[in-house]
Amino acid sequence: MLIKTHRDGFIHPVASEITPQSVYHARRDMLRLLASGGAGVALAGWAQRDARAQMVQRPGKLAALPAVRSNVDGAATMEKSTDYKDASTYNNFYEFGTDKSDPARLAGKFQPTPWTVEVEGLVRKPARYAIEDLLKLSAQEERIYRLRCVEGWSMVIPWIGYSLSKLIERVEPLGSAKYVEFHTAADPKTMPGLSASMLEWPYVEGLRMDEARHPLTLLAFGMYGEVLPNQNGAPLRLMTPWKYGFKSGKSIVRIRFTEKETRTSWTRSAPTEYGFYANVNPNVDHPRWSQATERRIGEDGLFAKRRKTLMFNGYESQVGQLYAGMDLRKFY
């Protein structure tokens, strides 16, 4: 008969109830198998998601920019991040040249500090922010976003920054403010591409107010655990992951709140090719290339089939309601 006393402290189970060590290890192996992809890609992604978030390796090229994980819905795709080398050497940043290798080669003279950002227009509290103050304005979060270029290629990039809405709240937009403009740097001394006349400089982009306030719209200061390289838009850039890359201005110097829709650089230069919204949409083709598919840089081998492009770049559940009732063929 079993008499329970306090002195026993711990009731030993019978030997048959003890999990043999080999079985215990087998269970661990199974979990490990789950995480390593043996149980299907989707499930593996889920199992690895914590590991992934910490897996982004700092390239060790620039100053570290610590960040916390983001709670924003859609802020961390489980897909494999693009190699830092590809993300920092294959760039469209025409202020440094039109070839995608130009920015990495020619952005060396560009000075991302000191830097100030003018926030102006239809706001109650216009302000001039030094980059140091902007960096501290809200907690820096890691956001792993898909990036889809209008040219038909894509990457997955771990950005660091915070929702633009945090800054918007500070300056208190007036009721008349319907759009937000982003003006980017144009310094002929350090940006050799400015001599080309394909676009009017400085580069200007814009968002509708509700798009700008959407939590996924990121004011990015870093990537891959470090501050942004010059060629990726140092010291701060925008990132709207459901729009084609050109909507996300780099090296921003001015944010202006307006009543009228922005006449963006690309819509001024080639109105038949680019629209104001530029939402990623596999059903609306660019006149020069199909938007139905994309090539994932670095991941899809030379002989791999292009992958299907997702509506709103896969962020439909987060941003779809912004465009409810709009004809996306007309407002492309």
Binding site: T89, Y90, A270
Partner: protein, 224 residues
């Protein structure tokens, strides 16, 4: 060509062009871009987007070889180097070779050899259609580049057929222009347009100046 200083240079060039090693050397040189691209693809040195690099580079080289092909006759006449004509066929065939690689890399890496997809793409995008047409028109030229073909066609018909290279030059330029129009980026297009304008303009000027008897047809006819 008449200036005495150039005479010794020209004499050397003439002798050099007749050297039996000229054709193999040119062949090896013309193959270099292909070998470099193949090696780059094999060793993963074509950048972040190797498919795009391959498609663009083969297109660039096709256009370059087209310019070289069209430059041979003006160079032959202006510099007084008749043996240059011996090299024209090979350079022309390399144009077709790189044009074919351009089409192949597009069909392979961009379209995954999906025939239905390619047909849709050609119908949908004018610049693809124009590029494709250029290749189609170039095909009979490449196919009739051999001595036997010249003989069986007759020199006159052969020449008339091969004049379509001027049309190809225009189409290829339009293809390139339309491709770059997406980015409003015309610097390179303008450079090639200038080269082709000089090369075709020289021919037009020559044709305009040449004496024509009133009974002779202005253009070679297709009837034998």
């Amino acid at each position: 060509m008449g200036a005495p200083v150039f005479r010794p240079v020209r004499a050397k060039l003439l002798a050099g062009l007749l050297h039996p090693g000229v054709k193999p050397t040119l062949f090896a040189l013309a193959l270099l871009p292909f070998l470099a691209l193949a090696w780059g693809a094999y060793t993963h040195q074509l950048g972040a987007n190797p498919a795009e690099t391959l498609i663009r580079e083969t297109g660039d080289w096709a256009l370059r070889f087209l310019c070289i092909t069209l430059a041979i006759t003006p160079m032959r006449v202006v510099l007084g180097l008749p043996p240059l004509v011996r090299l024209r066929r090979m350079v022309g065939l390399f144009t077709y070779f790189y044009g074919g690689l351009h089409l192949l890399t597009y069909a392979w890496f961009d379209m995954g050899f999906d025939a239905a997809e390619i047909v849709r793409d050609i119908a949908k995008r004018p610049f693809i259609l124009v590029g494709f047409l250029s290749f189609l028109i170039l095909t009979p030229l490449a196919a009739t580049s051999f001595n036997r073909a010249v003989k069986s066609l007759g020199a006159r018909r052969w020449q008339a057929l091969h004049k379509s290279v001027y049309l190809i030059a225009g189409l290829v330029l339009l293809h390139f222009f339309w491709m770059r129009a997406g980015k409003n980026d015309f610097n390179e297009v303008a450079a090639y347009a200038a080269i082709l304008t000089v090369l075709l303009g020289w021919r037009f000027a020559r044709w305009w100046r040449e004496p024509r008897s009133p009974s002779a047809p202005m253009r070679p006819t297709l009837s034998p």
